[in-house]
Structure formats: C-alpha cells, structure tokens
C-alpha cells in the first residue's frame, strides 16, 4: 500500500510540513482545488480567511483505480486512524 496525501497547500508548505514531521510519503498540492472539486470534496471557505480547502476524506484504491474502502468523516476533529487504515489495506489487498 502506498499512502498519498492531497491538500490545497502549495508544495513549499507541504515540504516544510513533511520535513518537520519527518514524513517520507508522497504529498501532492492542489492549490486551485481542481482535483478536490473533481472528487466533490471541496469545503468552500473551510480554511483560514475563507479559503476553499478539502474536506477530510480517505480512499483505498486498487491498481485499477477502483475504491475498495472509503471514509468520509462528519466531524473535522475525527479522522481515520493510521493503524486502522493499515489493517484495512492489509486485509483488502492481500
């Protein structure tokens, strides 16, 4: 399983974040939220200064781009847990 993170943060912000947090997985930038819109995940004015951002959402997709597992939180304070997602990935794509 390959984790990939997507947000509206520009690459330099994500780079600082990744180096501070010691993250090595791929972090992608969608500053115009074009992909976020295409996935219908836009949270209009959800960020600081009424910035459009992505709502939290997680998808486990197989090699054919088909969703095997999804998670849409109803509360921005409640996120999918990393260990739970790892277990699901192991189970779903053996």
């Amino acid at each position: 399983m390959r984790p990939v993170a997507v947000s509206v943060d520009p690459p330099d912000v994500s780079r600082d974040f990744a180096s501070k947090a010691g993250l090595t997985f791929t972090i992608l930038s969608d500053p115009d939220s074009a992909v976020i819109r295409r996935y219908d995940l836009l949270h209009p004015k959800g960020g600081p200064d009424d910035h459009d951002i992505s709502r939290p959402a997680e998808f486990l997709i197989d090699s054919n781009r088909v969703v095997k597992w999804e998670n849409f939180t109803e509360d921005i304070r409640i996120r999918a847990k990393a260990d739970a997602m790892l277990a699901i990935a192991r189970e779903t794509t053996r």
């Binding site: 990939v4 509206v8 791929t26 295409r38 090699s63 999804e70």
Partner: protein
C-alpha cells in the same frame, strides 16, 4: 458550633459555580480529539459536549434567576454575573465550535466503493507533476508496483 451570623444570611448561589464548572468541562472534553482517543470515544464526544454545555446553560440561567429574581433568598448577584460572563467562552467552544467542526460538506458526488476514481496529476513537494498512474506504477528506483494506494485528502497545514 454557632451559626455564622456576621455576614449575609442568604443562601449561597452554588448553582452558579456548577454551571461555570460544567461549561469548562464541556469545552475541555475536546481533549479527546487531541490525545488520539479511541474511535468510539471520539464519535460519542461531540454529543457529550453538547449535553454538558446544555446542562451548564440551564444551571447558569437558574443561577441568574435566583440571584436577581429571588435575591431575598440568594446572594451573590455580582459573582453570578461574573461566572456567567466568563462561562461564555467555554460555552461558545462547546456549542458553536462543536457544531462548526461538524459542518462538513456532504460530498454526495465523491467516488464510492466499487467506483473508479478520476485520474489526476498534481505537483509533489519538489514541484514534480505526479499522476495517479505514476503512483500506481512500480517505483522508479525499482521494486514492485504497490497493490493499492491510500489517497488521503486533508484540510491542509497552512
């Protein structure tokens, strides 16, 4: 022991302190989201926060009614007002903040289990354009292609 007859013999407006304490407890319950508490605890917490905030509000309203409507029986007008005003901050966190955190778009048009997700290409942290096909392909430095990709959309670090 002789009863204290030196001061005001009216009753203490204790329910003001109860409301004040409950308001802070409601706001501080948000800690379960920061300490990575178990998922069921986190799912229950917003409702507990709303409930405790409601009780705090009821207690503070009763306290204000007692202090001003029944001032012959209860003392502590100033203290009750001060406690109620300070409690507005935690009450705001536990009501408006709590509701606001749950104000997430429905995303009805998002991809769901069994559907293929749209292809895309976005810049990575070094500015290199990376497509979903690239992510699913074997890594350039060798090795097998990943069996799956976990796409995590997040609000951003800002």
């Amino acid at each position: 022991m002789a009863p204290d007859m030196t001061a005001d013999s009216r009753r203490r407006n204790s329910i003001a302190w109860l409301g004040f304490a409950l308001a802070w407890i409601a706001a501080l319950l948000n800690i379960v989201f920061f300490v990575n508490a178990a998922a069921p605890v986190q799912r229950l917490a917003p409702w507990v926060i709303f409930a405790v905030a409601g009780l705090a509000l009821i207690a503070l309203v009763i306290a204000l009614k007692r202090a001003f409507g029944e001032s012959a029986v209860y003392r502590g007008k100033v203290l009750t007002v001060v406690l109620a005003v300070i409690a507005l901050l935690p009450l705001f966190i536990a009501t408006y903040g709590n509701a606001h955190a749950r104000d997430v778009p429905a995303s009805t048009g998002a991809p769901h289990v069994g559907q293929a997700v749209p292809e895309f290409a976005l810049a990575d942290t070094s500015g290199k354009m990376t497509s979903l096909a690239d992510l699913l392909a074997p890594p350039p430095n060798g090795g097998a292609a990943p069996k799956s990709v976990l796409l995590v959309f997040y609000r951003g670090y800002w």
